[in-house]
Structure formats: structure tokens, C-alpha cells
Assembly symmetry: C2
Homo-oligomer: 255 residues x 2
């Protein structure tokens, strides 16, 4: 019996943003492997399907466990929030393959993409990612803070819209404030800053402010932070939250 | 009768990557507005539903037309390839609102996210976007080439993985070669370059090479180009295309 492994993107949370391809992959699996909070989102529908839940910060162990199960002939689905390729389980699985049993390289493995958080967050507010943008994880669990600062500086230098993943957690309460301070040195105070929590779910919450006033304490681990480019702007609406967008057309930037 | 407008992300093309929310939005519309090639993807299912097809390069006209129909009380779906917020129709619609009839600001409008091309392309090959990355459109129809060069330089400076949208078209055959030349000045020759055409469809085609050998002629308007960060690498597999990934863990970068 030959096993397989699929790394499935669950999207932002609501089932109507789970692709049919991802739903099929979950149905076809004999074993679901994932962070307990993500597994809890999947209804128990298949009798005999096994669930292997683990904590948030053990991606490498989880990836090895999933590969071991697949090598034993199980049909494994590793579940990932958002898209598996964006600060999620796809890189963890390939890392485990590289460092692990050579037989793992011959396994039938594929990735099912999903709606990543910045797309859902952008959709809540208009089109803030309408021009060139970058995505940076603020977690320094796996990379030096100096690398994060270098990327923030480069993003400001290139006038990219910036999407910040993992802006804060209980273990890392200070990074976002440091990132705002760094950006204040080179971006105008009126630069638009958005905090979008639980985008595309019934709990969605949006805070719109600017870089001068942005308070890092607004963010938690379920928040995606978007920092505008110089052209990003608000379109006011009567009795509704303004639209935020970054125009496609850009003028020559004077350096 | 009160109209509405939804900007719907169709994803990369195959119906099993269209979210249920996007499919519902298409079903609920009285009028579908979009680039003819995207409208052709949607099966004719609803009797009486009107279709308004237009060419690829008339986004602003299309956005105004859609807003006019919504203001007349129609339930309009503007269709967009990939995700509407990434180099697609969401920014065009908000731009048209900003410049248009003040009554358009009061319309019921929302955005349905989709799987954008870089996520589908990444899923084809492993996890190339596994660390910090940026997305740049190489089209200079709406921004000066100098702005694009500034962003490419900043992306290299920050050691981001780079996803290039709109790398080439019949009207713009030279941009990608110029972008490669610019990046060759600051990134190592062995930097991984991926050309992914029609990702997540039956016509998907992948070319893996490096920056020294990358030939811009491989790309067309249906190709997404990914240029690795310094850590992006290949994992060889017997008889199969290698995996490509960017490790989550990064060492201190010596500047």
C-alpha cells in the first residue's frame, strides 16, 4: 500500500472560503495532522479517520510525524491555516524531507493552496494591496531580529505596501512596536496602518489609523497588519467604514 | 430596487479552486462583468443572467460600467482572475468610485478573495515563498519603469523572495530581461529562478533554472516568475522534479 501526503490550506476559517480541492483532499485522507485549533475547524465526517493534533509551535515534529505516517502507507492531510506556502506548513514539510529519511523524497506529496490572511484582510477593507507589496513575518523564533529590520528598511525604501504576519504573541509582545518605530524613521506619519483581526470570519474587526498614531497593543496573534505605501489612501463613505486602496497608477517618485 | 456589486476572485482557473463563497456570488448576480477570457471560464447556468465582456486592458471602463449597472439596481459580479486585490479588479473599482458619481460610494460593494497566481505557482513546486517575499508587477502601463527598478533593487537589498506578475506581453517583451539584468548586479548567479505557467491547471508547466541562465523569452503573460532569496534551494528527488523551498529558519545575514 502506498501512502501519500497533501498539505492543505484551510483559508481564513469560514468553510465558504475552503476550496473544493482542499475539501476533497480532507475527505480522501485517512489521517489528519495539524495544530489543534485548525483541526477543530474541520467537521468530523468520515468514520475511522484519525486525527493527530499538536500545539502551535511544533511544526517540525508535526511534519516528521506526517511523513512517517505517509511512509507507513497512510493517506495523510497536513492542515494549515490560510495558504500552506505562506508562513505555514509547506516549508516545514519540505525542510523535514531534506533533513529526514531519504525514502521520504519518493513519497507522493502535493500542496493544496488556500486563501492566505493578507488576501482576506485586504478584501475586508477594499484594495490596499492594489500595487506592489511584500509580506514579512515579524516572528523572530526562526530568524534574527536584524534580518527583520533589514527587510522592513528595504520595504520602506521600495515604497512597498507591507503585510505583517505574526505581528505579536504573548511570547513576543514588543516586535510590532519596534517595527513601527523603525518605519516612522523613513515613512510619513500619515501613512495608513490597518489592523485586521479574524478577516473573513464573523468575528472580523478592523482598526484604521496612521503610522504616527498606530498602537502595537491593538494587534494579537490573530491580527494581520497592513502598512500602506505612499499612495495608499482612504475613500470616505457616508455611515460606513472608508474604503482603503492603493492605486494601480503611480507617479514618478522623487527620491 | 437596490443594486449591489461584488468583485469576485476566480482563482487560477480550475473550478475546484473557486471558493464556495465566490461561486455563490456568481450565482446570485444578475450581471457578470469581466475580461472575456475570464467570463468564458464560468458555465452558463442561470437563465436571464447578462454577460458584459470586455478586453484585457480596459479595467477602468469595465469598473465604471459595473458601478453604473449596480447604481441602476442590478446585482453585479465583476470577475477577476486570481485574487481581485492583487494586480486585478478591486483597485480598479475603488479608483472608479473615487473619481466617479458620489452616489457610487453608498452602493453595497464587497470583495470575494481568490487564490492568487503566486500561491498556485508556489504550490506546484514546494514552498518557494516559505520566508518573507514580495510581489511586483512588471507592467509599466500604469507606473514608470523607474519605480519598478527601485522596487527590484529594494527587494534584492532585503533578500526577499520575489514573485513577478505580468512579466511579459506582446506589447512589453523587454521588461523581464531588464529585470534579470538588474538583479544579476546584486544577487548571486546561482539564485533560483522559476517560471510557472498556468499553475494549478491541466496545462501547468514549470521551468527551473538559475539567475545566470534565466532566459526572459520563457515567460509569457500567463507565466508567474519567482526569483529566490539567498536561502531558497532545491531538494532533489528520483525521477521527479525537485522540490523548491525557502527555509523558515534563517541565519544572520552578513552584509
Amino acid at each position: 500500500m502506498s501512502g501519500s501526503l497533501v498539505i492543505v490550506g484551510l483559508g481564513p476559517g469560514s468553510s465558504d472560503l475552503l476550496t473544493p480541492a482542499a475539501a476533497s483532499a480532507l475527505h480522501a485522507a485517512t489521517d489528519l495532522v495539524g495544530y489543534d485549533r485548525y483541526l477543530d475547524r474541520i467537521p468530523e465526517i468520515i468514520v475511522g479517520q484519525r486525527r493527530h493534533a499538536s500545539g502551535n509551535r511544533v511544526e517540525t515534529d508535526r511534519a516528521r510525524h506526517a511523513l512517517t505516517l505517509a511512509a507507513e502507507g497512510r493517506k495523510v492531510a497536513v492542515v494549515s491555516g490560510g495558504d500552506p506556502g505562506v508562513f505555514a506548513m509547506a516549508a516545514a514539510v519540505v525542510e523535514a524531507i531534506e533533513a529526514g529519511d531519504p525514502a521520504w523524497r519518493e513519497l507522493d506529496i502535493h500542496v493544496e493552496p488556500g486563501i492566505t490572511a493578507m488576501l482576506a484582510a485586504a478584501a475586508e477593507v477594499g484594495a490596499p494591496l492594489g500595487a506592489d507589496f511584500c509580506a514579512i513575518s515579524l516572528s523572530d523564533n526562526l530568524k534574527p531580529w536584524q534580518t527583520i529590520e533589514r527587510r522592513l528598511r528595504a520595504a520602506a525604501e521600495g515604497d512597498f505596501v507591507i503585510a505583517l504576519y505574526n505581528p505579536a504573541s504573548l511570547a513576543r509582545p514588543h516586535q510590532l512596536g519596534r517595527a513601527f518605530d523603525l518605519l516612522r524613521a523613513s515613512k510619513p506619519p500619515q501613512t495608513i496602518v490597518l489592523f485586521v483581526r479574524c478577516a473573513a470570519t464573523t468575528e472580523a474587526r478592523v482598526v484604521m489609523t496612521d503610522l504616527a498614531k498606530a498602537d502595537a497593543a491593538v494587534a494579537d496573534m490573530r491580527t494581520l497588519v497592513i502598512i500602506g505605501a505612499s499612495a495608499t489612501r482612504l475613500i470616505s463613505r457616508k455611515g460606513q467604514r472608508p474604503w482603503v486602496y492603493t492605486p494601480r497608477a503611480e507617479q514618478q517618485v522623487v527620491r
